[in-house]
């Protein structure tokens, strides 16, 4: 049936709505009409469509083109994919009638063409005419499902209050239950919906697809449901694409790809399935396959924004630099390969760091999780945050820093955000930990465990010793509002208050940290192993730590109370002191500011955020002229994981001025993981490695310098020349020094080296 609509739609292409708005052809999922008042002629045509009888459906809908009723003609044109005509007819009809079915049908047209906001507006207008118009409310619930689940539930509840047996509302409710993985509840609701379908003349296709999804979530075969659905409609691709969605929300992308393949096999013109197949092929790094299916989706539906975003991203991927490194363990045995994709303009600066960290992470995590990667690990960094957004969820404007799809990790590069806004080294470390924990369990571990382990690795083995908990987390500890283990996943996927996702990250990290500290790191591995064998959380905990979930919750709470209780219970005092310290600074009462700042540090030494006690003490001590004490204070801040780039750069200068070069080098190395685009520090580090006769380290720094100092690259070329000399490579050294002098012919140090080299060559 989709074949019919997309072909017709493709020939008619776009329309302009309200003067400027484009809508696109209906190549979307099959919309079932739960409207008892729907015209009987339309229902007969719908029946052909529901059963995959394309030619009959076309003839049937086309025969309605002369119908007297504008609404019937509009619905028929919409079903034929003639979006322009349908839009015009709905608009004309709505001008002379307050029949809510008109606005509802118009809303359906928008929803089917990816314009959710407009669809919602039209459904709401229909409900103004008749608050009991169930098709409008059902449309509204469908439109709200993806973004505002709570509101969608409320709309469905409204329908069910009026008609507890409304099959459309029940089906949508079942879908929401499945989103929460409440499969038993979903099945009950679906069974109920099936009993009341008859009057609507709608076949149970969607019910079968959702039953299949429930079976999939319960790790059962979905074959019986797909067979039943295809018996009714052999082109019903949703019986695969709907369950595929539930693979994706459980991070099992490879399995999702298989289902989408089946969807486009039974319905080759199913644009959304081609799109989602393309997007998920990208997630498993099949760029070629992704391009094919996104192109196909574009051919079928050129105005699906997600498809266009995906294709644009693929164009960008072509221009990224790809490098790889093979990683060995300490004995020289091969561990695996890391493939790095970077935007060309920053590749020189970042590549050596990314490869270096990936290598270290691969070596460490292979050992810590007893798991050797079976495929190359792909690491992508995007200097445009919106590209990263499209890469991960096909939509720009997301708030994430990094996402791992198994063997593929994508994240913001440091250039994607304001300088110092995030510690990209920690993010990379966090994401690579995901690669191991996801792949070691075939993506079967719960979300809290996956995030918790990555946070735990950030804290314990990552490049930054920052273990600061936000005040929101401390408040949750104080108020005992952390979620129990059984419900912890909801904190990530269905947060009930603003900021709960961040709190859940920290809680999961603390929980893993607690398990490791109380029962050893092996207990975490035992948990992973249990999850990889589909052992439920309860049993997994019992076998790994000898406690049930409630027992772990209680022990964890006691641990947190002991570790953070005093601080959490005195947060008000902390904040009061913090305000007093700021007032002391404003009043230039420096001794008081020092005392208050030190009190803040003593209470919460891990707080290295801007405005913390360290900053108060720093300002005040500098005003008092005690630079030594200020330096000691800033050093303590650094040791606790302080990573504000401005402070780090200042610390580097002060350490160098004080002759503490080794300490300065440590801070420089740290700076690179938060802001790698500085020039001075790369140059200093390069010189340091040269002095240490470390040609590889020096090359890394001067390569990075070359990338960030592209307008004045002479120093970087000279550094590379000197690094070449450490390796005894005078030919490369001569080349590099000529590159330096080619751009800066009067650069004295390069001139000197050229003459030295020239003399050496002559003597040879």
């Amino acid at each position: 049936m989709r074949h019919l609509f997309t072909q017709i739609a493709f020939s008619k292409l776009l329309v302009v709505l309200s003067g400027a708005l484009l809508i696109c052809p209906a190549a979307s999922a099959l919309q079932f009409q739960f409207d008892l008042t729907r015209d009987q002629d339309l229902k007969e045509c719908d029946t052909h469509r529901y059963h995959g009888r394309s030619n009959e459906a076309i003839e049937c809908y086309e025969a309605l083109s002369g119908n007297d009723d504008d609404l019937v003609r509009a619905e028929a044109e919409a079903a034929l994919g003639n979006v322009r005509a349908a839009n015009r007819l709905f608009r004309d009809a709505s001008e002379i009638s307050d029949n809510p079915a008109i606005k509802t049908g118009w809303g359906n047209l928008f929803l089917g063409t990816h314009q959710v906001a407009d669809a919602i507006a039209l459904y709401r207008e229909a409900l103004l005419y008749d608050p009991q118009h169930h098709p409008a409310r059902l449309g509204l619930a469908r439109a709200l499902t993806d973004t505002f689940e709570g509101e969608a539930r409320r709309e469905l509840a409204e329908i069910l209050k009026d008609d507890p047996n409304h099959p459309g509302a029940l089906i949508q409710m079942a879908r929401l239950e499945l989103e929460r993985k409440n499969t038993a509840s979903a099945r009950r609701v679906l069974d109920s919906a099936a009993r009341y379908l008859e009057p609507y003349q709608v076949p149970p296709l969607e019910i079968y697809a959702l039953h299949a999804a429930a079976d999939l979530l319960d790790d059962k075969s979905i074959d019986s449901w797909t067979r039943k659905a295809l018996d009714i409609n052999p082109e019903y691709g949703e019986v695969f694409s709907i369950p595929a969605h539930f693979y994706i929300i459980t991070y099992r992308y490879r399995e999702a790809v298989d289902l989408y393949q089946s969807a486009v096999k039974v319905d080759p013109d199913f644009a959304i399935a081609h799109r989602d197949l393309g997007v998920n092929l990208l997630r498993v790094n099949d760029v070629f396959g992704a391009r094919y299916h996104l192109n196909r989706a574009f051919e079928l539906d050129p105005f699906d924004v997600q498809t266009v975003n995906g294709l644009r991203l693929l164009d960008g991927l072509d221009e990224m630099r790809i490098t790889f490194a093979d990683v060995d363990d300490v004995n020289g045995d091969p561990l695996g390969r890391v493939i790095v994709r970077l935007d060309e303009e920053e590749a020189d600066a970042l590549e050596p760091y990314v490869i270096d960290m990936s290598r270290r992470a691969m070596q460490l995590f292979t050992e810590r999780y007893d798991f050797k990667l079976k495929k190359p690990m792909v690491v992508e960094l995007y200097h445009d945050h919106d590209d990263f957004g499209v890469r991960t969820v096909s939509t720009p404007g997301i708030g994430l820093l990094g996402v791992t799809f198994g063997y593929l990790t994508a994240m913001d590069s440091p250039k994607a955000r304001a300088p110092g806004e995030f510690h990209w080294g920690s993010t990379l470390w966090h994401e690579i930990a995901h690669v191991f924990t996801l792949e070691a369990t075939n993506h079967l571990l719960p979300r809290w465990m996956s995030e918790g382990l990555s946070v735990y690795e950030e804290w314990n083995t990552g490049p930054l010793p920052d273990r600061m908990l936000s005040f929101a987390v401390l408040e949750a500890i104080r108020d005992d509002t952390l979620l129990p283990i059984r419900k912890l996943d909801l904190g990530f996927v269905r947060p009930s208050y603003e900021g709960q996702v961040q709190v859940s990250y920290a809680q999961a990290g603390l929980l893993c940290d607690f398990i490791a500290s109380r029962f050893g790191h092996d207990a975490l591995k035992a948990l992973l192993n249990a999850f990889s064998h589909r052992v439920p959380v309860e049993n997994a905990l019992q076998s790994a730590v000898g406690m049930d979930a409630e027992g772990v919750d209680a022990a964890f709470k006691a641990h947190l109370d002991k570790r953070y209780g005093e601080l959490a219970n005195s947060l008000d005092d902390y904040q009061l002191i913090s305000r007093e310290a700021q007032r002391a600074i404003e009043n230039e009462d420096w001794p008081t500011a020092v005392a208050l700042g030190e009190d803040l540090i003593e209470r919460y030494p891990e707080n290295i955020a801007r405005g913390s006690g360290y900053d108060v003490v720093d300002v005040a001590l500098l005003e008092l002229g005690d630079t030594d004490a200020a330096l000691a204070n800033r050093w303590q801040w650094f040791e606790f994981g302080g990573h504000d780039p401005e402070h780090l750069q200042k610390l580097i200068r002060e350490l160098r001025a004080g002759g503490r070069n080794d300490d300065a080098i440590a801070v420089m190395k740290s700076l690179m993981w938060v802001m790698p685009y500085t020039t001075e520090e790369h140059a200093w580090l390069g010189e340091y490695y040269l002095a240490e006769n470390d040609a590889q380290g020096a090359l890394r720094e001067f390569n990075a310098l070359l990338a960030v100092a592209d307008k004045d690259p002479a120093e970087a070329y000279l550094g590379r020349a000197k690094a070449a000399l450490i390796n005894g490579d005078t030919i490369s050294a001569r080349d590099e020094v000529l590159y330096a002098l080619e751009v800066s012919p009067f650069y004295r140090p390069a001139q000197k080296l050229l003459l030295d080299l020239h003399t050496g060559i002559q003597q040879q």
Binding site: P419, K711, R748, Q751, L753, D756
Partner: protein
């Protein structure tokens, strides 16, 4: 207010240096330079202080290119008004006319406007105390100035609005914005001053900071600022004119100190010839096989480096760089 009234003071070494600059084929074409810097209305204490600070930096730089520090005029504070600016330009015109045809002839004029500007129906205007300085004023005041090279730097909001009406052969113009529509106070000035006040923008390390180098540095730094801060760039600087690589805005390092040493001047004269040879080879990069190109480049560079060592030794500078072990 600071007003360095132009005076006509010459020294013998200065004239030698002028001769040297003439001999240099690319960067060193200026005979002598006159410069006027105008710091416009700040509008608040922060901008006032910034404009004063930047103009001080620019004075220091430009004085390094002139035979006398008095050849750079600064108008700031209360005297930074339309009448003062026009009077200064008139004085400059008179002086240039007086010296025309003599050995002390002025070859280059640099006018730098730092501050805020805006567009009105008559075109761009630079905000100073009292009536603003209009493009029409500037066109009128600069028209009688007859020198080989004029450089106008309008580092002010909306300054791109003056480009069309001010462009003419022999005039190089830098504006902080691409059009009169970019009306937000500009950051370009800060980076332009930074370029003139350090050796960071001397990309070829020849100790002569050209208009092109200063512009490139400041423009890149400005755009980097907006990019780094994740802000929509509210200004896009423009450079128009063909003389950007031949007008020097500052001399740096040893060269700055060498102006009064005839021995050094002679060596620098020699250096300029080698530099010309260097640029000649470099200009043929796309024509030559890579090996040939770098061999020829190396030959010239070895000569330059050898000569530079002599110059540095003459100046008593320590040789820099590190030896090959």
């Amino acid at each position: 207010m600071k007003l360095h009234k132009a005076t006509i003071i010459r020294c013998v070494y200065g004239m030698v240096f002028i001769g040297l600059l003439h001999a240099l084929p690319l960067q060193f074409a200026a005979a002598d330079t006159r410069a006027v810097i105008v710091a416009g209305l700040g509008g608040n204490a922060e901008y006032r202080a910034a404009f004063e600070q930047h103009s001080e930096t620019m004075i220091g730089a430009l004085q390094s290119t002139t035979t006398s520090p008095d050849h750079v005029t600064l108008l700031t504070g209360a005297t930074s008004n339309r009448d003062s600016v026009l009077a200064s330009l008139q004085l400059l015109t008179d002086e240039i006319n007086e010296l025309a045809g003599t050995e002390e002839a002025v070859d280059t004029v640099v006018l730098i406007l730092i501050g805020h500007g805006n567009m009105n129906r008559d075109g761009w205007q630079f905000n100073v105390s009292g009536p603003d300085l209009s493009v029409v004023d500037l066109i009128g005041a600069l028209a009688p100035i007859n020198v080989a090279q004029e450089v106008i730097v309008a580092s002010a909001s909306a300054s791109g609005g003056m480009l069309k009406s001010m462009s003419q052969p022999g005039r190089t113009i830098i504006t902080a914005t691409k059009s009169g529509g970019e009306t937000i106070a500009v950051r370009f000035t800060e980076f332009f001053a930074e370029a003139l006040g350090s050796d960071n923008a001397d990309f070829d390390k020849n100790e002569l900071l050209t208009v092109r180098e200063a512009f490139t540095y400041a423009n890149d730094a400005t755009q980097s600022y907006f990019k780094d801060q994740k802000l929509l760039a509210s200004e896009h600087a423009r450079l128009e004119g063909d003389d950007a690589v031949s007008v020097t805005l500052a001399t740096l390092g040893a060269l700055r100190d060498a102006k009064s040493n005839p021995m050094i001047a002679a060596l620098l004269d020699e250096r300029s010839e080698l530099e010309a040879a260097f640029y000649a080879v470099r200009s043929r990069k796309s024509e030559l096989p890579e090996d040939t190109y770098y061999s020829e480049l190396e030959a010239v560079l070895v000569q330059i480096a050898t000569l530079q060592q002599r110059i540095d030794a003459e100046l008593g500078n320590e040789p820099s760089g590190e030896s090959v072990e």
